[in-house]
C-alpha cells in the first residue's frame, strides 16, 4: 500500500491500482480512505475525521473511534492540530500547512465515467490525454443550461497531465487543491484505485477561455451560530419556511465559537478571506456570461 502511495505521489493525478483489503466496515463507508489512514498512521500522529464537514456525524465518529482503538493515536477536531485528516466531501476551511496529510474517501475515482462507461477505453483516453469528451460534456451543459451544472466532483487537470475526479468535494473546495502546501491522497476502496496531489502541484478545473469555472456563491449567507461569512454554508430549512445557514466545517465553527466565548484558540488563515477572495489571487477568474 505504501509503495502504491509513493507511485501515486510520483505521478500526480494518475490512478494507481492497489489491493484493497476487506475491512470491518462496508464498502462505500470510506474503506479506501481508512486503508490509507491506517497504513500511514504513526505513534506521534493526531487524527481528525470529517464527514460532510462535520466531526460528529455517525460515519466520522465511528471511523475516528476505530482508528484510535486500533492504533492508540490521539484524535482532535482541530484542523491545525491534526497531522492526518481523513475526510469525506470537504476540505477544512483553514489552510493546511506543509507536513499535513489529507486523505479523501472517493466513491468514484474515474472522472471519465459519465462520458465513457467503458473503463478500459477510459484508461486509453488517460494514456493519450484525450479529454475531448469531457470538454464536450461541458459544452453541452452550456448549450442546454447556460452554465456548468456539475455540482460536486468537478473534473480537474492535475500538473497539466491527468484529468482527476477530486472526490465529491463541492466546487467551493476544488481550488483548495491548487498549489496546496499539504499532500492530498485520494483512495477508492471498492474500485481499488488510489491517486494523489503532491504539495505545490497545479490543479486547474476544466473551463473555457471565455466561460469560467465558478464556486458556489455564498453571497449573503451568514452562519447563525458564529456570524461567519464567505465560507461554505449548510442550508437549514426552518419550520416557518425560512432558512438559516450554518458553517459546514464544524471544527472551524467550534473554534470560532470558543474564540467568541473568550477561550484562547488559534484560528488559522483560511482559503477564502472574509470578503470571499480566494488566497491565490487570479486563480478564480471573474464571472462571464455565456450567450
Amino acid at each position: 500500500m505504501r509503495r502504491r502511495l509513493l507511485k501515486a505521489v510520483a505521478l500526480p493525478g494518475y490512478q494507481v491500482p492497489y489491493a484493497s483489503r476487506e475491512l470491518p466496515i462496508a464498502r462505500g463507508w470510506g474503506t479506501g480512505g481508512l486503508q490509507v489512514t491506517l497504513s500511514l498512521v504513526g505513534p506521534c500522529d493526531c487524527i481528525k475525521v470529517i464527514d460532510q464537514g462535520a466531526d460528529d456525524s455517525v460515519n466520522a465518529a465511528n471511523l475516528r473511534r476505530f482508528i484510535a482503538r486500533m492504533t492508540g493515536v490521539e484524535t482532535t477536531t482541530d484542523a491545525l492540530q491534526a497531522t492526518l485528516i481523513q475526510s469525506r466531501h470537504r476540505i477544512p476551511e483553514e489552510r493546511l500547512r506543509e507536513g499535513q496529510i489529507l486523505v479523501l474517501q472517493v466513491p468514484s475515482p474515474e472522472p471519465l465515467l459519465p462520458v465513457q462507461p467503458d473503463l478500459a477505453k477510459a484508461r486509453e483516453m488517460h494514456a493519450d490525454a484525450d479529454y475531448a469528451l469531457m470538454w464536450l460534456s461541458l459544452y453541452e451543459q452550456l448549450v442546454q443550461y447556460g452554465t456548468f451544472t456539475t455540482g460536486a466532483e468537478y473534473p480537474v487537470l492535475v500538473h497539466g497531465r491527468y484529468l482527476m475526479s477530486p472526490s465529491p468535494i463541492p466546487r467551493w473546495d476544488t481550488p483548495m487543491l491548487h498549489q496546496a502546501a499539504h499532500v492530498t491522497l485520494l483512495a477508492a476502496g471498492r474500485e481499488k484505485r488510489l491517486y494523489a496531489v503532491p504539495p505545490y502541484t497545479d490543479v486547474y478545473p476544466l473551463e473555457f477561455e471565455d466561460v469560467h469555472f465558478r464556486v458556489e456563491s455564498q453571497q449573503g449567507r451568514v452562519c447563525y451560530q458564529t456570524g461567519a461569512r464567505h465560507k461554505l454554508m449548510n442550508e437549514l430549512p426552518q419550520p416557518d419556511g425560512q432558512v438559516r445557514y450554518q458553517l459546514s466545517d464544524s471544527g472551524y465553527a467550534t473554534k470560532l465559537w470558543q474564540h467568541q466565548q473568550g477561550d484562547t484558540v488559534t484560528i488559522g488563515a483560511t482559503y477564502y478571506d472574509d470578503a470571499g477572495n480566494f488566497y491565490h489571487r487570479g486563480y478564480l477568474k471573474p464571472d462571464t456570461d455565456p450567450a
Binding site: 464536450l136 459544452y139 453541452e140 473555457f208 477561455e209 455565456p290 450567450a291
Partner: protein
C-alpha cells in the same frame, strides 16, 4: 506561361508554348497510396490499390458490395492499418512520411485536422445523444480549441455551409431526419476545412429529392473548399454527377480506372460493362 505566345522564337513548337502543362503534371497529388493490402483472417479485402487524388478533385470508387470500397475508405481515414502499403498526404512536415507508420497519437491528430469523413450510416459518424452543434464542436475541441464562442461560431458556419436549418442546431441527431443527419455529418467533416474529404455512400438511403439536395450541397462545397475528395458509391448516377475520375473495384482489386465519362460511356473491362448495363433506366 502566357507571355511566351508573343515571343517569335517559340514558333517551332507552337503547341508546347501555347498550352500550360496540365495540372496533373505540375501539381503534386495531395493524397497518394501505393500497394494497399488488407486481410481480415482468410479474406483479402483489398489488394494492390493505388490511388492519386489532386487538390480540388473528386475521385469516385464504384463496385459491388464486398468489393473493398469501404475498406479503402477506412484505411484512408487512418482508422484501420493495412497489412502492406503506404499513404502519403502532401501536408507540411509530412510530405514524405508514410502515415501508416506513425504512432496512434500522431495519426489521430492528422485524422482530426486534415481528414473529414461522412459515413453512410450516421450512427458511425455522429454522437446521437449530443447536440448537433456539439458534434461539430467536438472536432474543434480535439484540435485544441477552448473558447466557447468560437466553437458556437464555427458550428454555426459549417452547419450553414452544409445547408442545415440553424434553428435546429442544438437538437440531438436522433431527433433529426436522415437527410439532416447527413448534413450534420458533412458539417462535422468540413468544420476544420480538411484537405481530404471522404464520402462513404453519403446519399444512399435517402429519398430521391433529398438525395438531389445533398448532392447539390456536396458539389457546392467541393467547389468552395477544394478538398481532395474520395467518394464511394454504388450509385452510378451519383458518380457521374459528382466525380472527375472513377475507379472500378472488384474482389478487392481495381479493375479499371479513368475519367468518369470514359468509364461510364466506354467501359473496357467485362465487369465494368456488366455494371454499367445493369443499371435500370
Amino acid at each position: 506561361m502566357m507571355p511566351a505566345t508573343s515571343t517569335t522564337g517559340a514558333i517551332s513548337s507552337p503547341i508546347q508554348t501555347l498550352l500550360d502543362p496540365p495540372r496533373l503534371v505540375t501539381r503534386r497529388p495531395l493524397l497518394q497510396t501505393d500497394g494497399l493490402l488488407k486481410r481480415y483472417g482468410r479474406v483479402t479485402a483489398v489488394q494492390d490499390v493505388e490511388l492519386r487524388v489532386y487538390p480540388g478533385e473528386m475521385v469516385g470508387i464504384v463496385g459491388e458490395s464486398g468489393s473493398g470500397k469501404s475498406t479503402v475508405l477506412r484505411l484512408l481515414n487512418l482508422q484501420e492499418l493495412p497489412d502492406e502499403g503506404s499513404l502519403i498526404l502532401d501536408l507540411p512536415g509530412y510530405a514524405e512520411t508514410n502515415l501508416f507508420a506513425l504512432d496512434r497519437f500522431q495519426r489521430r491528430m492528422i485524422q482530426c485536422q486534415h481528414i473529414g469523413i461522412v459515413y453512410q450510416n450516421p450512427y458511425l459518424g455522429l454522437r446521437m445523444q449530443t447536440s448537433s452543434s456539439g458534434n461539430i464542436a467536438e472536432r474543434l475541441i480535439m484540435a485544441g480549441e477552448r473558447t466557447f464562442q468560437t466553437m458556437r461560431q464555427v458550428a454555426r458556419e459549417s452547419l450553414d455551409a452544409s445547408e442545415f436549418p440553424l434553428e435546429r442546431m442544438d437538437d440531438a441527431p436522433w431527433q433529426l431526419s436522415g437527410g439532416m443527419q447527413q448534413r450534420v455529418q458533412l458539417a462535422r467533416a468540413i468544420a476544420l476545412r480538411p484537405l481530404v474529404l471522404l464520402l462513404d455512400e453519403p446519399t444512399t438511403g435517402l429519398d430521391v429529392s433529398v438525395q438531389a439536395l445533398v448532392l447539390d450541397t456536396l458539389k457546392h462545397l467541393q467547389h468552395e473548399l477544394q478538398p481532395a475528395t474520395v467518394l464511394v458509391s454504388h450509385d452510378l448516377g451519383v458518380i457521374r454527377t459528382l466525380t472527375d475520375r472513377a475507379l472500378v473495384m472488384r474482389h478487392g482489386r481495381v479493375v479499371e480506372h479513368g475519367l468518369t465519362d470514359q468509364i461510364l460511356d466506354d467501359p473496357q473491362h467485362p465487369y465494368t460493362q456488366q455494371l454499367v448495363h445493369a443499371r435500370l433506366s
